[in-house]
Amino acid sequence: MSLKHKDLTGIASLSADEIMQILETADSFKEVTGREIKKVPALRGKTVVNLFFEPSTRTRTSFELAAKRLSADVINFSPSNSSVVKGETLLDTARNIEAMQADIIVLRHSSAGAAETLARGVKSSVINAGDGWHEHPTQALLDLFTLREKKLELKGLKVAIVGDVAHSRVARSNIYALTKLGADVRVVGPPTMMPACVERLGVKVFYDLDQGLRDVDVIMMLRLQLERQGRALFPTIREYSRLYGLTLERLKIAKPGALVMHPGPINRGVEIAPEIADGFSSVILDQVTNGVAVRMAVLYLLSGGNG
């Protein structure tokens, strides 16, 4: 059995079984990343292109490492030093990359749906590394992988996703992934940052953090996009932090031993207190480590031959 998709554009189009298959494959790759020689020849001769239209360190590096550890050749493409500044469209850029025999294109773009558009336009496999407010599937997969690694049963797991849910692709992908696997998901944030009709995704909505954290097993903090201040979503960073920042006192409301996650980059002292980010309940750095194994699994599963 293999992943029956050419692309990974979002979690929404995956079944629960497919998600589990990716997580189990990632488990084997985690062993590879713990070896002294962290490299296997599985993708020898394949070319992976990182096409990033938005700044990113973690995700791009993670994909680059994942591809290199599978022995693929990696090219990093960013708009500031490419023909994009000369007015080339996304599809034309991608078709040119494809003409150079790229097997997999990893795309980060500020527009929702960019990955889907690209996937329809090219024969190469496309992996969505974040498209606007839409999805960031590999982040959700690595979050799930991390929860499973911590021996948590996803079915029935109580997870609170806290912060700017409306503008978060990480939140959307995680809501899809967690609910598909039977977790009990709630979103917490100010009304201005809550997407309309979010309940339809199968989650509970809380506007009060203290209520939202009651009895949860996992707290996923979202990054407050500070550049959004001044767009009338929240009055001041201080007020946001006071109402929706995770502090040690608030952590006590959650179940004892609850895990704290964050997709990074973190705003210390804004959405998360430094003592929590560096504390024993934080799995933030495990998430980063696991990201490489999960991305190796996705690259491997999407790169079946043509035979």
């Binding site: 293999s2 070896r35 296997v40 020849p41 790169s303 031959g305």
Partner: protein, 180 residues
């Protein structure tokens, strides 16, 4: 081969490994997933009974080292490699159920070399069915079974919920040179 023949072959191979290596010093067994893993565990158990020494052992998944990954349409399921010791300077006995083209063993040797620098690699197989495509031979063979290219040799083991036996099935659907 029936269950008692399989058991006798395992016992004989255990003795041969101990004889050739003059005991268990620096000796370790690595089973190739899936059948080889069970056989390696049986060999370890038999050696424990003979020499009263627990020989270290591990499980090897060779999927990522296959030579047909870019040809196959579907990616094979990846399982875990679990070798809980540093293989460097060990005499490693690779264990597999069916020895066929030799491609699996090539992949296994490459995989081992990436995990460390063993002093020596030897090969033990339950069944040798011939048709080698690479210059590789086994050191320990349970049974030589002459076959034609398009037959399938299937090893059933207790650990998979079957009675121990080796059977030959006619009319393989595998294209020649397909499975390593």
């Amino acid at each position: 081969m029936d269950a008692s023949e399989v058991a006798r072959a395992v016992t004989r191979i255990a003795h041969e490994i101990l004889e050739r290596n003059k005991g268990t010093q620096n000796l370790a067994l690595v089973g190739i997933r899936t059948g080889g893993v069970y056989l390696a565990h049986r060999l370890v158990k038999r050696m424990l009974e003979i020499e009263h020494v627990q020989v270290p052992s591990g499980d090897l998944d060779i999927t990522l080292y296959r030579d047909d990954l870019s040809i196959r349409k579907d990616q094979p399921i990846l399982r875990k490699t679990t070798i809980p010791f540093d293989i460097s300077d060990f005499k490693i006995v690779l264990v597999d159920d069916v020895f066929f083209t030799g491609r699996t063993i090539r992949a296994a040797m490459d995989s081992l070399m990436d995990l460390g620098r063993p002093a020596e690699i030897q090969l033990a197989v339950l069944v040798d069915r011939g048709h080698r495509q690479l210059p590789i031979r086994a050191n320990y063979i349970g049974k030589n079974v002459p076959t034609s290219r398009d037959e399938i040799v299937q090893v059933f083991l207790e650990e998979e919920g079957e009675d121990d036996r080796v059977v030959i099935l006619k009319d393989s659907k595998e294209p020649p040179g397909g499975a390593p």
